[in-house]
């Protein structure tokens, strides 16, 4: 995977005494200490993060945690005090911190587009004039501009509204204009600074879904700032949690939920519904950890209610439940199965925990087996595994 944006030890300090503040950062001083000593505000310190192409990388944190500050370093809306921000520019890599004005402008016009929390639309311009802003600034000739703008407006379902003024639209529509404006430049990297925070929950969910749909098609590299963990878990392929200007933890969504790095992260995830992130893979016990009996029999649960006979290819040859032969069926068909039949459900690693729980519910808390793509047995989930994952114990 190619790297699209690479933050390397980025420090951002707002204020006059840059050198003094940087020295304090090196000694590990907190934001409050730096403010007291130098009067400068620490934006972020020692931030290193790699964002790969096609990824949605979410920067998370409470307000003032430095997440927006770090995001805005990518197109130099915030000036980096020390460190590098490497951005892919075609075949080259450009350090945004040190590049000249002409390069920066080209990056902003062609490589990196941005979507703002407060939309940032020009109220005296119509929707289509707003969407065309980036192209206009880049000097794209009018016929081509018109054509590209119309295409983007269709993409976000606003083609009926192109002649309206921005302020005549609802908040959700205005942000769609913001999205279209960013897409219109065809920049491969998209910066989104809490784009949906100013919208009401229903519209927010809708726009998140639309963004994911568009992303499946367009495959942009998106850096997304959010203070809403549910949002981050929903759209992020990677999540970075920040506190007081420093990165606390980076990882896949389920890493954050299952293995929070410290109390700050733990507090963050305290109210998150684990069912919305966890998959069968996250909670299963590996087959090697299960209790093996004679003749290839393996107990799926600690209570020894259910066991599989595994052949030499790793496939299931026979199943037994409460001492009686049973059949094994996929979780995908859980709704179709009668509750009485002696059956053992199986799932794939990617199956959501919710589906696994439903299967357990249907089978009187019987364990659920996990098969890989070749239908080989890889592990099992017992009721205790589910409970400990949900309770985070």
């Amino acid at each position: 995977m190619t790297v699209a944006v690479d933050f390397k030890n980025v420090d951002i300090v707002f204020g006059a005494d840059q050198a003094g503040s940087l020295a304090m950062i090196d000694k590990g001083a907190t934001r409050a200490e730096i403010l007291e000593k130098t009067g400068n505000v620490l934006g972020c310190a020692g931030a290193s993060l790699t964002v790969h192409e096609g990824e949605i990388s979410v920067l998370m944190g409470l307000s003032g945690s430095g997440k927006s500050t770090l995001l805005r370093a990518v197109n130099r809306l915030n000036v980096v005090s020390r460190g590098q921000v490497l951005v892919k520019d075609g075949d080259k890599i450009v350090d945004v911190v040190t590049c000249d004005q002409a390069t920066l402008r080209r990056l902003r016009q062609k490589q990196v587009a941005m979507v703002f929390q407060q939309f940032g639309l020009l109220p005296w311009r119509t929707v289509e004039e707003n969407v065309g802003l980036g192209l206009e600034l880049a000097g794209v000739p009018e016929p081509e501009r018109k054509e590209r703008v119309q295409r983007q407006l269709k993409l976000v379902n606003l083609d009926q509204w192109s002649k309206k003024y921005a302020h005549e639209l609802s908040g959700g529509m205005q942000q769609r204009v913001g999205l279209a404006r960013a897409f219109a430049t065809e920049a491969p990297i998209l910066l989104m600074d809490e784009p949906f925070s100013a919208l009401d929950p229903l519209i927010r969910t809708k726009l998140q879904d639309e963004l994911l749909q568009l992303q499946a098609e367009l495959k942009k590299t998106i850096i997304f700032v959010s203070h809403d963990l549910e949002e981050a878990l929903k759209i992020g392929s990677h999540i970075t949690i920040m506190e007081g200007g420093r990165i606390v933890q980076t990882g896949a969504p389920e890493d954050i939920v299952l293995r929070p790095a410290n109390d700050y992260v733990r507090d963050f995830i305290a109210n998150v519904n684990p069912l919305s992130v966890l998959t069968a893979w996250n909670v299963m016990r590996d087959s090697r950890d299960l209790e093996h009996g004679d003749n290839g029999w393996v107990w799926l649960d600690r209570r020894k209610t259910t066991r599989f006979k595994i052949d030499e290819h790793g496939l299931v040859a026979a199943a037994e439940r409460d001492g009686k032969p049973a059949i094994w069926v996929s979780c995908a068909d859980v709704e179709a199965q009668s509750e009485e039949a002696a059956q053992v459900f199986w799932a794939n690693p990617g199956t959501s925990l919710k589906t696994v729980m439903l299967a357990m519910h249907r089978s009187q808390t019987a364990p659920v087996a996990l098969f890989d793509d070749q239908s080989r047995f890889v592990g099992a989930i017992g009721i205790r595994d589910v409970l400990s994952a949900v309770l985070r114990r």
Partner: protein, 284 residues
């Protein structure tokens, strides 16, 4: 007098003398330049007045009413403008009104031409604004009579010094309102412009000025109103027009003449104010 005050009075800082010396220096060395400038300006203003006076008054009033309609697209306004001007013709003050109109429009236009760029500059450089601020305060609060004197010695009598005095008085408003308009451009849209790669001049022309336009237009309206309030003073140093009539009425205690000329100024003020309210009323 107590000794401390006496000491201070004895060592008076000779501000008046310095000022006098400064203007003496200017008149001694650059008199011809100032006079030539003044004569040229007088020629331009008088020429413009004469051209406008060649047009039959009712026809000119009709043209102004049509301009009002073109600017505001409002029929009642155009009719109101026409009736107001007919009233002035009826009061036999047309010539003076045209003189005043030319002076006021020229002063407001010049003040905007100088004030808007200064206001933009000040909005971009807070330091410049801090230096500019006391100068603007001085220009607005120094009693008008005080700077009538040096302007009179430099430029002589006539329309030109009247125009210059008016411009000095009006520029601060143009600067301040432009400054206000540009500094109140929402940060979010400036950042949007920057994030999409605007150059400094693109940012100014495509983001800042359109956003500040309503405030700048309010500055234009204010400039015209303030110019009108200066016509009476400008008349004291020889600028013709309605101000002259009012001064004459004051000198000869003619209530009737004062009332007529005063009402003509009010009518002119209302006409100009309503005509130049572009983008202020909130309608697109």
């Amino acid at each position: 007098m107590d000794p401390i005050s006496q000491f201070m009075v004895d060592h008076k800082i000779p501000i008046g003398a310095w000022g006098k010396a400064f203007f003496g220096f200017l008149t001694d060395n650059f008199d011809t330049i100032f006079r030539a400038f003044s004569n040229g300006l007088n020629f331009l203003l008088d020429g413009l007045v004469n051209i406008l006076l060649m047009v039959p008054p009712v026809l000119l009033a009709l043209v102004i009413a049509i301009v009002a309609w073109l600017l505001q697209r409002s029929r009642p306004l155009a009719i109101g403008v026409f009736l107001g001007l007919i009233f002035i013709i009826n009061q036999n003050l047309w010539k003076q009104t045209v003189q005043t109109l030319v002076l006021v429009v020229a002063a407001a236009a010049m003040a905007m031409a100088i004030g808007v760029p200064l206001g933009i500059w000040a909005a971009h450089k807070p330091k410049v604004y801090r230096i500019m601020l006391p100068v603007l305060d001085l220009m607005q609060t120094l009693p008008t009579f005080v700077y009538l004197i040096p302007v009179l010695t430099l430029f002589g009598l006539g329309n030109a010094p009247g125009l210059i005095v008016t411009i000095i008085f009006v520029i601060p408003t143009a600067v301040r309102l432009t400054h206000l308009g540009v500094v109140s451009v929402p940060k979010s849209i400036i950042e949007a412009g920057e994030a999409f790669g605007a150059t400094k001049s693109q940012l100014l022309w495509k983001v800042e000025l359109p956003s500040a336009l309503p405030t700048i237009m309010a500055g234009l309206t204010q400039s015209i109103m303030l110019s009108l309030s200066m016509v009476v003073f400008a008349a004291l140093i020889g600028a013709g027009g309605l101000g002259t009539e009012i001064n004459r009425a004051l000198g000869s205690r003619r209530i009737d003449l004062g009332l007529e000329a005063g009402l003509a100024i009010v009518v002119l003020a209302i006409v100009l104010d309503r005509m130049t309210r572009i983008g202020v009323g909130g309608k697109k």
